[in-house]
């Protein structure tokens, strides 16, 4: 009997220090002689810079820009691509592009200098929307066609034949908007020097990403920079690549000034000048027979990437791979196109491209079902993919798919079928349902071929220290990972340490992203722990291992064919609403969900993830409207961009189906993103039924419902 059972209720390791206000976030750090920094940014979306006029800088104040990058350095941030510049140089491509960094001791003086810095521009015409980009408004931003990245997948017979045989073709366009992360802690970083090395304290998901990204600015190697992750107050993808945009200019400034420098965004900067979820536009054409059966689906998916590629190609791939939802259609052709616009670059956000297409396919299927008089749940369940079923990338589902069981549990808990029948369309009351999944970890064999994740356990006396590059950002990983290690080693969880990573002390475990930490890094830690347990009596020693991908699951990253994911999380959600017929305000009266995450490592943490993911998804669908006019975001504060409060949604009912994953630690799969991927569609389904309207665009706040009613 292990001392720490995997199903034991444990105390979350970081909770007490956080609740007592003792956890140190980056803004809480103060170093001797520390200076502050603030950014000088572009105020126009597309222009040539013709002049930079600074007020006179008092002694001890600096303006750092592209001119300060040394000769052997390159003005680029190396994210997945290298196109995003550290400092704008000659031209600007979006509002908020970094032009320079003002550094000095007094924040009020810095603000004065910032307000009195004038940039002269020769402005161009910006392309802001996907349609602008396609129309080459203002001329192409990249290449000749504004296409930053594209791919396609096909399965089954050629679509031309499928459409020829169809009795009817149903075409519709479904759109999703920007979404802002609103992690309660804004972005921030602090740089200093120790023993001739640069040291950056950062609120970040991926410390190893940062040092790789910024080292080239000074022509130094990543090992010359130490990244120490500070307690991170939420991230959701917003601190995956974006910290590079703060740390790059800070590194250049440090190389000139050689004093500690802190850069903390205020909320309005964090909202206006940070990455967002990619807006999307999906055009589905579905071939149907006389009875309403699906013969094949063709989808063209556009993502608005903003001005630089950053991670967009990978986001787009995931969007395409999830665009047929949880279904096995006889034929699919899915094409993804990422376009360049003059908006802030879009980047990672919980779900990483999957939520947009999952929303699109769920909503599209609801509309088909209703046309033919079927209940959406019953109609969709005919197409549930099963173990062995062919995916859109011509690979196969390897695991048991428990969607039928999840549907019946959910239907019973929510009384779905009775309510669906009883609440008439347009009655003011509606119940909606959705199904979704999320492929765990990096696509295909990327974990082995690209990431080569490492983890290490160090035994000192009876204590064991976990050394990984993975970060705690609120998702509970420090607790989950200690639990896995303690359980495998047969020791108390209190005897396992896992400090925040310092890149000079821990191996690179890959990014904390892609729902991969528990599934992949947790697995390596489990393997290390098994070996350590066998050798326990050898005294003090360490065990380090690299991830090994299971054999027999080929993947071709050039053609996107093969087993894209070995394990998926699966989900189903039901949402019930009542709509005020006068104000069009939607009152959500019930939320039910059921998820398959393999086997849960810690049910209380999972409970919190389920609740939080679903509320974020409902915010995305119902209220989080981020508009961009002429290149400028219109929402610049938490009173303009409204996220859910404790009053907006009721208590949730949730459940899990147990389906241990053969390659996960203690049977666990990824789950952090899955729980974001579907409540939006269930909500929209419920609103559509309650009001008898058709929704093809989210978010849908009350004013947009009004418009939909007028069009109905």
């Amino acid at each position: 009997m292990p001392l720490t059972g995997i199903d034991d209720k444990v105390v979350r390791v970081d909770a007490e220090a956080k609740a007592r206000g003792e956890a140190r976030y980056v803004s809480d750090y103060v170093l001797p002689d520390m200076l502050y920094a603030c950014m000088v940014r572009s105020s126009v979306p597309r222009a040539r810079i013709t002049g930079i006029h600074l007020p006179e800088l008092p002694e001890g104040y600096y303006f750092i820009s592209a001119k300060d990058i040394p000769e052997n350095g390159r003005n680029e941030l190396w994210m997945i691509a290298k196109d995003w510049r550290c400092f704008a140089d000659g031209d600007v491509r979006y509002v908020g592009e970094t032009i320079g960094l003002l550094v000095g001791k007094d924040r009020n003086i810095l603000r004065y200098l910032q307000d009195n810095t004038r940039i002269d521009y020769e402005e161009g015409v910006p392309a802001v929307t996907i349609d602008d980009a396609i129309a080459l408004k203002g001329g192409p931003i990249v290449g000749e066609d504004n296409v930053m990245c594209s791919l396609f997948c096909e399965k089954g017979r050629p679509m031309k034949d499928v459409f020829n045989e169809a009795d009817s073709v149903f075409e519709e366009t479904i759109e999703t908007g920007f979404q802002e992360h609103v992690h309660l802690e804004t972005n921030g970083a602090l740089i200093t020097e120790e023993d001739g090395r640069y040291v950056i304290y950062a609120s970040a998901q991926c410390p190893f990403y940062i040092r790789k990204s910024v080292a080239g600015l000074l022509g130094i190697s990543p090992e010359d920079i130490i990244i120490r992750q500070t307690t991170t107050g939420g991230a959701f993808g917003g601190k995956e690549h974006f910290p590079d945009v703060l740390c790059g200019p800070l590194l250049v400034a440090e190389s000139v000034i050689h004093k500690p420098i802190k850069l903390i965004f205020d909320r309005s900067e964090d909202m206006l000048y940070s990455v967002k979820r990619h807006p999307s536009k999906t055009i589905f054409r579905t071939a149907l027979d006389k009875e309403g059966n699906i013969l094949g689906i063709e989808g063209t998916i556009y993502y608005n990437c903003g001005a630089y590629l950053s991670a967009s190609y990978v986001v787009l791939q995931r969007g395409v791979f999830h665009a047929n939802g949880v279904y096995d259609f006889p034929a699919t052709y899915l094409k993804g196109v990422g376009v360049a616009t003059n908006t802030f670059p879009s980047d990672a956000f919980r779900g990483f491209g999957a939520p947009q297409t999952l929303f699109a396919i769920e909503t599209h299927l609801d509309h088909i079902a209703r046309r033919f008089g079927f209940d959406p749940a019953e109609y969709k369940s005919r197409y549930f993919i099963k173990k062995g079923g062919e995916t859109v990338t011509n690979g196969h589902i390897i695991e048991e798919v428990k969607l039928p069981e999840m549907l019946s549990r959910l239907a019973e808990a929510s009384d779905y079928y009775r309510k669906a029948e009883e609440y008439g369309i347009g009655s003011g009351r509606g119940i909606g349902i959705s199904f979704y999944n999320h492929g765990g970890a990096f696509t295909g064999n990327g974990e082995q071929a690209i990431i080569k994740a490492h983890a290490r356990l160090v035994k000192e006396g009876k204590r064991v220290r976990i050394e990984v590059g993975s970060t705690e950002m609120g998702q509970g990983f420090q607790t989950a990972l200690r639990k896995i290690a303690a359980n495998t080693l047969g020791i108390e969880m209190e005897d396992v340490d896992y400090p925040n990573p310092d890149t000079s002390l821990v191996p690179d475990s890959g990014p904390t992203a892609a729902s991969r930490s528990t599934m992949i890094v947790g697995k390596i830690v489990e393997e290390c722990a098994k070996e350590m347990k066998e050798r326990w009596d050898e005294g003090d020693f360490s065990v380090e291992k690299e991830y090994v991908h299971p054999e027999g699951h080929p993947w071709d990253q050039d053609t996107f064919r093969g087993d894209a994911y070995l394990g998926y999380g699966w989900g189903a959600a039901v949402v019930e609403v009542e709509v005020d017929r006068i104000t069009n305000e939607v009152n959500t009266v019930g939320i039910w969900s059921c998820h398959d995450i393999g086997h849960a490592i810690d049910e209380l943490i999972v409970h919190g993830q389920v609740n939080g993911g679903i509320i974020q998804s409902l915010g995305y669908a119902a209220m989080e409207k981020m508009e961009n006019r002429n290149g400028h975001f219109r929402q610049e504060s938490m009173s303009d961009y409204v996220i859910p409060t404790s009053m907006d949604f009721p208590k949730q009912e949730w459940s899990l189906v147990d389906n241990p994953y053969q390659w996960g630690p203690q049977g666990a799969k990824g789950m952090g993103e899955l729980v974001f991927n579907g409540a939006d569609a269930a909500y929209v389904d419920a609103v559509e039924r309650a009001l008898g309207i058709t929704v093809t665009k989210i978010p849908i706040p009350p004013e947009d419902i009004e418009e939909a009613l007028e069009n109905a």
Partner: protein, 159 residues
């Protein structure tokens, strides 16, 4: 125009001599190093900087220090080692209320004010009491349950 502003923070006398329009959150965090007070939005919307001023829950980012003359201020640092403060912190810890943690000190302050005036709140009353405190991680359910747990565990403490 600078003058001395005298008030109490966590029971200690504080004399601030500087611009009376300085935000209270800056005085607490920068001058007094009470960094358990978090700044989330700077406009009184998110509640991360919540403190108790003369018995009332307020957001310290929209209060000028000049408005604190003679006030009694309590921050998370002033309540966390009291019996009531420990009761809430432990309930938050055990009830799964904490994820990224950035909103949590403010939430603890909101719970403290609620339970001090309403020892046995309903879930609805708890939701109203924390409606000025934004959390992006939890979806609020476990925070509500944890506050109820603090009420139950605290019992007579809150009477």
């Amino acid at each position: 125009m600078h003058r001395q502003i005298e008030f109490r923070v966590n029971g200690n006398k504080v004399v601030y001599s500087g611009d009376p329009l300085t935000r209270l959150v800056d005085v607490l965090r920068d001058d007094l190093r009470l960094t358990g007070v978090k700044e989330g939005c700077g406009e009184g919307e998110c509640g991360a900087c919540s403190i108790i001023k003369d018995g009332r829950l307020v957001t310290s980012c929209i209060i000028p220090v000049g408005a604190c003359l003679g006030s009694d201020i309590l921050t998370i640092e002033g309540i966390r080692d009291t019996e009531k403060g420990r009761c809430i912190v432990e309930a938050f810890r055990d009830g799964g209320a904490v994820q990224c943690g950035f909103c949590i000190p403010g939430m603890v302050m909101a719970a403290y004010v609620l339970l001090s005036s309403n020892p046995a709140p309903t879930d609805e009353e708890i939701r109203v009491a924390i409606s000025g405190n934004i959390c992006r991680c939890t979806g609020y359910d476990l925070i509500v349950e944890s506050i109820r747990l603090a009420a139950e565990r605290g019992g007579a403490l809150w009477q």
